[in-house]
Symmetry: C2
Subunit: 308 residues, 2 copies
């Protein structure tokens, strides 16, 4: 199959690309190398079934040329800012990188009659909502520009799909970890501990608790999607979760550091726009025959190990 | 109070302006005169408590100048394409006029620390959903670019409000009718019957059935909102509804036309992206002490009468 992976040189996009190539697809990768990097995809650059274009998805004319040149059968859209904390200081970052990239892609798909889309969405669309989050939950009030950008993107996907006969899957990712991480709490802790192995600053009170999925589990879920519905939305995650303090413990253990002093900045959330605790209802994706192989703590440990 | 009415030279915006001036506010009106017109606001142009600026809300620099010059205490945002059918042919129309105007306004409010916003949303955010629509309904799948643009705007309002301490009211309008209508089914029927009083083409099968609110009722609801919550969402509408065929009957009666032959184009919806039937659960706004004075049929009749 001839597919486009938008954001294909990023952490998750590069793993997805590897899996798509393994499954004998022809993969065109587009990335603006804002968070992604050539290091993530170097191993594929000589693969005859792979082409990489350095391109911002919002460059409509160039995107049009790409769609003309390659007859895509499906688009995987993972291009986004994805660093929620960074986006908090400037709403323009997620507006452009997370939201506009989606609209630009939808317009290209519409112009070129491409009808299959997988969209990487996020738990952040739910906002700071208590209880088990189910796909059909209402009253979604995102509290970050990132969450708003993804929810807005979902809204546009719904209308483009209905108006143009597209079949789309929206997967709401939890925190994703694994080799090639570019940012996030594990990445930060390792950097801080390398700088000072005696003390670790932890944002918030350390009790923030989220499910962490290992990237290979997520990729498996992405590959098993069927494209039957106008819009089908899935939470993909793990039943277990890990507190930030537990992540610190795991990272210290994996780095062989025994007596690190933790210094908490305080407050229930790590930064403005952070959702300190959430957990998914996963019954829909489980009923579809997928279940994560790694628990949350295990995913964190494997990711830390690969990054040290 | 010093307020900005975005889209203030449009059908609803001009009525809102009249009411705000009656209540002793200083009103700055911004409109790009795309759907709005000077005819709608001519009666206020010499009012010392009123200023009109012809401006596209997406012109950030000019909008900044406006926010610097006038210290707004509240923003009423009604700027939008609002002609859903027209927007169906080109997704760029609602993207710019309905969605981008909102983001541009939110950015200006953020830069200038303006914290109170009333946003004109729509039933179209619910998509084609059966049953009584409640504000906290989930699984919102807009089927028009207009509905997507409004739902996306709601998502961004949620994040800007949370990140910047804004207090916002989102009012989901049903079909609104009354004097100064610029488009829509009543407007179309009158134009067609003026052209040919013997036969009337009706889009769809005529059984599309929606609640029509008289504009003065809607304005009353908009004026009684308090600004306490980060995001408060209200359906505003009427319990009754009117079929398209009944609208044709009412328009013919008001025009004094006895024997008009109806020709239906067929199909359950009038056009691609149309939601043929819906009805609101209005318990939230009713509990807040507001109820529409005019039933749906009555609103249609009064609107037809004022347009003939």
């Amino acid at each position: 199959m001839n597919v486009l992976v938008a954001g294909g040189a990023g952490f998750i996009g590069s793993h997805l690309t590897d899996a798509l190539l393994d499954a004998n697809n022809f993969v065109v990768c587009v990335d603006n190398l804002c968070l992604g990097s050539v290091d993530m995809i170097r191993h594929n650059l000589k693969n005859p079934n792979y082409i990489f274009y350095e391109l911002d998805m919002c460059e409509d004319t160039k995107l049009d040329e790409l769609f003309k040149k390659h007859s895509f059968e499906r688009v995987y859209h993972l291009a986004a800012n994805s660093d929620i904390q960074k986006g908090g200081g400037d709403p323009g970052i997620d507006f452009h990188d997370t939201f506009l990239t989606t609209v630009s892609l939808l317009n290209a798909m519409r112009r070129h009659n491409i009808n299959e889309l997988l969209f990487a969405s996020t738990s952040a669309v739910y906002g700071d909502k208590p209880g088990l989050l189910k796909e059909d939950a209402g009253d979604l009030r995102p509290v970050s520009y990132y969450g708003a950008s993804k929810l807005a993107a979902e809204a546009f996907i719904s209308a483009y799909a209905a108006m143009n006969g597209m079949r789309t899957n929206i997967i709401r990712f939890p925190n994703v970890v694994g080799p090639r991480l570019t940012h996030g709490v594990i990445f930060d802790f390792i950097a801080k501990l390398r700088n000072n192995p005696d003390e670790l600053e932890i944002l918030g009170d350390g009790n923030q608790e989220k499910p962490y999925i290992f990237v290979s589990d997520l990729i498996e879920a992405m590959l098993m999607m069927s494209y039957k519905e106008c819009v089908d939305i899935f939470n993909v995650g793990v039943k277990t979760s890990t507190t930030v303090k537990r992540i610190a413990d795991i990272v210290c253990e994996e780095m062989g550091l025994g007596r690190v002093k933790y210094r908490f900045t305080g407050g229930t959330s790590g930064w403005l726009g952070d959702v300190p605790k959430f957990q998914y209802d996963l019954s829909k994706i489980h009923a579809n025959g997928w279940m994560a192989k790694h628990a949350s703590d295990e995913a964190v440990r494997l990711a830390a190990r690969s990054a040290i």
